[in-house]
């Protein structure tokens, strides 16, 4: 009996793990350097996706608000960060400005708009779509259709020699480190601080939290500001790795939606897992099957939706 239960429990792992393991072994034997470089690329892309999606999932978990303007916060944070970076000649100031501006925008949105439509999913969705369209047009009006790139400190943008992989972009390693630090900080904030405790309590039962004398609106506003700030932060950090141009808003909105659907709505660890899966799928697709690689991400999403509609680490609500 125990054996069968064991098999059942690990069924999904066997079903997907073994073929993937076989492919990985083939990949390593075939071209070791390419395999590990692609893995590292996937992980670093995942780091970027995690930064964007963690804010998105945090807001959804607590506020039940699918913020479809999340991508606009990413783009606006990046543009404002670029302006500050150009003016001050400091990349770190640009990162800080991206975070602060998006956080402020998030705060204003929560206090000025979403507070008045609490619990009305459809109205919130329509309002966020409208806001994202307005934001995209305003950005196009101010910054035009040109391509923007940041100017980080010299030591970050070179390449570093790694064992097996060889030369690898230093900045992508920095990106990975940043995502890990932020992930740990988020975990610490949610698990160990008083505000984090309130947020977790709010995720589980909003009414009860409010009844026990906590200022729920305040908790909501803080959460929204942090979530939005993370998007703006990711805007500058991601714009440095890639570039900033009109259309990036919907691109990252879509990426974070996929990540969050795969990982589980409202779960920060789910966002991390989803980001790793999507990032690896994209990079392995590009390296090993460039023509069909784009499909991989959506195959993962379809499988998750079919067998675990609440996401891999999601909970039924």
């Amino acid at each position: 009996m125990n054996g069968i239960a064991f098999l059942r429990r690990w069924f999904w792992v066997w079903l997907f793990g073994l073929p993937l393991l076989a492919l990985a072994v083939w990949g390593i034997v075939d071209n070791e350097r390419l395999f590990f470089a692609t893995t590292l690329n996937g992980l670093t892309l995942a780091a970027l996706y995690f930064l964007v999606a963690s804010g998105f999932t945090l807001v959804f978990g607590l506020l039940r608000n699918v913020n479809l303007a999340h991508g606009s916060l990413y783009l606006l944070g990046a543009y404002v960060g670029w302006v500050v970076g150009e003016w001050s000649d400091s990349w770190l100031l640009a990162v800080a400005a991206g975070f602060l501006f998006a956080a402020l925008m998030g705060l204003l949105l929560q206090i000025g708009v979403f507070r008045y439509m609490h619990g009305e999913d459809l109205r919130q969705t329509m309002a966020t779509i409208a806001l994202s369209i307005i934001a995209a047009d305003v950005a196009l009006w101010i910054w035009g259709g040109q391509i923007y790139q940041f100017d980080p400190p010299r030591w970050i943008i070179g390449s570093t020699a790694l064992p097996i992989v060889g030369k690898f972009a230093t900045y992508r390693l920095v990106l990975l480190a940043m995502a890990i630090v932020i992930g740990l900080a988020l975990w610490w904030f949610l698990a160990r601080t008083r505000v984090g405790m309130m947020i977790r309590a709010g995720v589980d039962d909003r009414a009860m939290l409010s009844a026990s004398g906590v200022n729920v609106q305040m908790v909501f506003a803080i959460t929204f500001a942090i979530g939005a700030g993370l998007a703006g932060f990711a805007g500058v950090v991601g714009g440095t790795a890639l570039s900033i141009a009109p259309g990036e808003d919907t691109r990252y909105l879509l990426a974070s939606l996929v990540v969050v659907i795969v990982g589980g709505m409202g779960s920060v660890s789910g966002a991390a897992l989803g980001a790793v899966l999507v990032g690896l799928a994209e990079q392995f697709g590009l390296a090993y099957a460039p023509t069909y690689g784009v499909v991989f991400t959506f195959v993962i999403m379809a499988l998750v939706l079919a067998f675990r509609p609440h996401g891999i680490l999601g909970r039924r609500t």
């Binding site: 670093t44 040109q146 972009a169 890639l242 590009l286």
Partner: protein, 417 residues
Amino acid sequence: MTERTRMLIGLLAGAAVATVLSAAAQAQETVKIGLLATLEGPFAAGGQDGMRGAELAVKERNGMAGGKKIEIIKASSDAKPDVAVNATRKLVEQDKVQIMVGPLSGSEGIAVKDYSKSQPGITFINGSSGAQATTLVNPSPNFFRFNTEGAQWMVGLGDYALNDKKYKKMALIAEDYAFPYSQVQGFMAGYCKLGGKVTHKAWVPLGGKDYSSVIAKLPTDVDALLVVLGGSDAVNFLSQYEQAGGDKPMVGGSITVDQTVLNFKGKRRDSLLGTPAAGPMADSIDTPEWKKFVADYKANFKDGFPSPSLFAYVYYINMKAALDGLDAVKGDLSGNQEKYREALKNLKLKTPTGEVTLDENRQAIGPTFITEVAKGADGVFYNKVVKTLPKVDQRLNLPKEEFEKMGLGSRDVPNCP
């Protein structure tokens, strides 16, 4: 209405009919030209500039051609073929235009060419669409294209890379759709024939952004890379390649190192210096005609780009061809525009970059410019002309049999690993 009855009615009805007749005569004095470009979607900025180019051609002759007043009726699409055909239909069937100029992008061009077959009484002239198939596969007798297309734009660059730059072995990275296929064919047809080798081809999705794994896969035993990417794809690839420690020189496509890429907002662009590329125009053509065109563009459009874009230039020459044709027949569009089309076919079009003539499929034979990225005294990057090919035809200057044996460009055609 015959001349006889018209005279009879004129005699009988007097003044009232005279007014009607003069109105009819006035209608004869104007020629309606439909102008279609994308003012929505991904190429909106290019479409707007295309309109500027076409308007410039009309303005140059004070809105008159062949002794008639030119009336322009504009319509917009969003780079989708069905939208382009609907907009063209509206112009032809509702607004009753006699000549059409447009559309902007490749697949739109094929759709409008197919529609033109159902309107034999109207003459269609291309806007800036550059698909090879438009005039090579089932050409339409009343569709004319006075601009060269994607494959023609790259002819001569293969020779330049191999013999001037000494790149014997190259790897290719390009977006996975029709326009880059044509561009790569234009390059490789010459490059392979002269003995060059392209050992690795990476076709990446349009708008892919993160190229790090594609870069990891590039072979290290090549002399240079052929990069046929456009807009932000190009900027992303170039900076990621540099960040990943890549150090191979590059050869670009017609839109890889154009004004939009050279002028991106950021500082890291010195690695682009000296990159060869090719196209139907260049920022610094040293002829009085080109300088006059640029000066006219700047004087007329204060809201335009610092220098006319490829779209402005190509729309300009197609509209100019339409008007030159009208001049040649003195505005005579009678007999299903037979004379007009004959005139267009035989036109020796004077463009700002040189003379353009048409082949038997009504496709342009025109100049191609080989360029290199250079830095001006003011620190601004631009494309310097290093070589000019005055006449390139749609078969890439190859004998007919040889081109037909090769076929149209695709992922695997041509091939020389």
